[in-house]
Symmetry: none
């Protein structure tokens, strides 16, 4: 039945349009921020009429949320194959940390501006989006915490309030990423940066 084929093709074309709009919105949000962006900016950037925007999204907030979700998914995909086997001594733990950070850094590097935009804009878009971002942070924190708990249990990390420390570590990382992608970080290689931060996390600043 050819109409099936046609429906299929139409759906595909529509889906492509939707993604065009999404990509355009992302570029504009990155460039101008959420609040300075007009629907017409997005439509123009996407090369479509404003009406077409409304065929795919109910409003600006919805596109933003879709972009947010898309980013989160792509970051989580990056993590998928990662936490396979837990480290069994301090050395392995450290190596795993460095490897994980490198992987994240690479993942984020490809669209650092996007990440920065999301971190900057999300909390001012909406209360519910602010919460969503918070859960995301919580998710990372839980991940870090479970890593840490494991290490403590295995005896190659000292006992501590792992929730607080996990929180601190995530904060440290997020912040540093923010700086790095703003170009406001010290002018060093990414490997050096990661190395210093892991050393700090493992040994702190104290001599010995």
């Amino acid at each position: 039945m050819p109409s099936d084929l046609r429906q299929e093709r139409d759906r595909t074309r529509s889906e492509r349009r939707r993604i065009d709009v999404l990509d355009a919105a992302e570029r504009v949000f990155v460039r101008q921020g959420f609040h300075r962006t007009l629907i017409s900016d997005i439509a123009t950037e996407a090369g479509v009429g404003q009406g077409t925007f409304y065929r795919h999204f109910p409003d600006k907030r919805a596109v933003f949320e879709t972009i947010f979700d898309r980013l989160v998914d792509s970051l989580f995909a990056e993590f998928a194959g990662m936490s396979a086997n837990l480290p069994s001594d301090a050395r392995e733990y450290r190596d795993a940390s460095v490897a994980a950070l490198r992987r994240v850094a690479q993942a984020v590097e490809r669209n650092g501006d996007l990440v920065r935009m999301i971190l900057r804009e999300t909390p001012t878009v909406d209360h519910s989006l602010e919460d969503k971002l918070a859960s995301l942070h919580d998710g990372f924190m839980m991940l870090a915490k479970s890593f840490l708990d494991h290490a403590v249990n295995e005896g190659f990390a000292r006992p501590c309030d792992t929730e607080i420390i996990a929180q601190a570590i995530v904060g440290m990382g997020t912040w540093t990423a923010h700086m790095w992608f703003s170009g406001r970080a010290p002018d060093v290689t990414l490997d050096h940066l990661i190395g210093e931060m892991v050393d700090f996390a493992f040994q702190g600043i104290s001599a010995r």
Copy 2:
């Protein structure tokens, strides 16, 4: 000449009005964020007409910047008497850190919502305000760095890339403060939180 007296009184009253408007704006910004706040919201909250708003500020952005500056000044005032004598051994250094963090925490505690609002909204208001906030962060980072450099020079902190570590520490602190004042931090006392963070910063997570 009685008109001198009158001018004086008028100036005082006008100054009070200005502060009323400023305080009202602060409350509304905290409640609704910068972008959802209308001039009329501020005027209503202050219990004055819209025209009165414009008598004291040219626009919403200007009030925001004034609130920002006022906060920065009040935080700096808190720091004024602090960095008197530098610590001369590791223990003193740790104690000084705890004391400093307590002091900052207390200073911020009184208007945690304001701090959170400023941290959240500022980067989306304006490019120039975003920069202003960045310099502020830089300032804190430099402070932390000089502390750290001192400790390294004195030999009670291990040699490291103090700029990176200072950045990380400031990030960690800011982030944790953010969490704390959102009520999304673990449910512990402030002293415990500070203690854990300082321990982490000094010894890291490693056993021994």
Copy 3:
């Protein structure tokens, strides 16, 4: 490609809308003057929303200038075929003057209110529009002067400061037109009026 057709049709329709707004503005300006006219008055008169006004003109001043230019163009079009052959004796000169005035009068008659409005309002709209009107007057004056110079050179007008006299004649004409279209001129036929003015311009008031 049907979109070409559509673009064409859209452009035509838009152009028509623009002219609707322009015509409406003209009517309102004539009725209320520039300063008493609100954008909403124009939109209402045109039967469109306020937003539509702004789709076609940036502000009230711009519509005014467009109306001004449109009038000037239409008046100049009237003059186009006129100054073909210069008169070669006093009688021809007088006949040519009468003919020219009749022609102008007819051209202006069709929209006397508009002309009056433009003469009245333009100098208060804007400095640049005031200047534009002044150049227009200058243009007319130069035209009159060249006519006069020719007559003097040919010997059927007495030697005189032709610039001053040209200025005076234009003033006389403009003024009389103003009066005529306000309904404040003496109650005579246009031909009589023109005849008297031309006689005056040729012979002055003196007996003989």
Copy 4:
């Protein structure tokens, strides 16, 4: 009784204030035109508070009208002693015309900007002010007409539609004055200008 004296002095002071405001308004109107002038501009220029403005005038229009009337009065005062004895031959008539124009020119010269402002702004302020200006023109026209009628009756002016000619002459004069005070008139002496215009009015342009 000293309170009489005091009342008297107060009245005088109030009257002086009123005139200060009036003078200030005049300067501002000349500088900015009626519509661009704010009450606060006038008050500032007068060096008084805005409240004081309202003590003396109900609104901007009223000050304008007062300035208008004041100008008219001062011009009429200038004419008071003028039309004493009517001329009895053509030569005298011409001399009288030149003398009259010189006198008017001098009167106007002292405040040419004011006259220009009044001529420019009045018709756009108000319908009733427009009418008032029209009556003024009518007054001048009637004056000119009666002069002209006399001359015709005495036989040293040719018979003509004196109303039309009077209108034309007034228009010519007003227009030329306008040009002159805008600095857009030919660069000649006032006497030359007047001479040319009177010659034109008496003999027209025709040779012989």
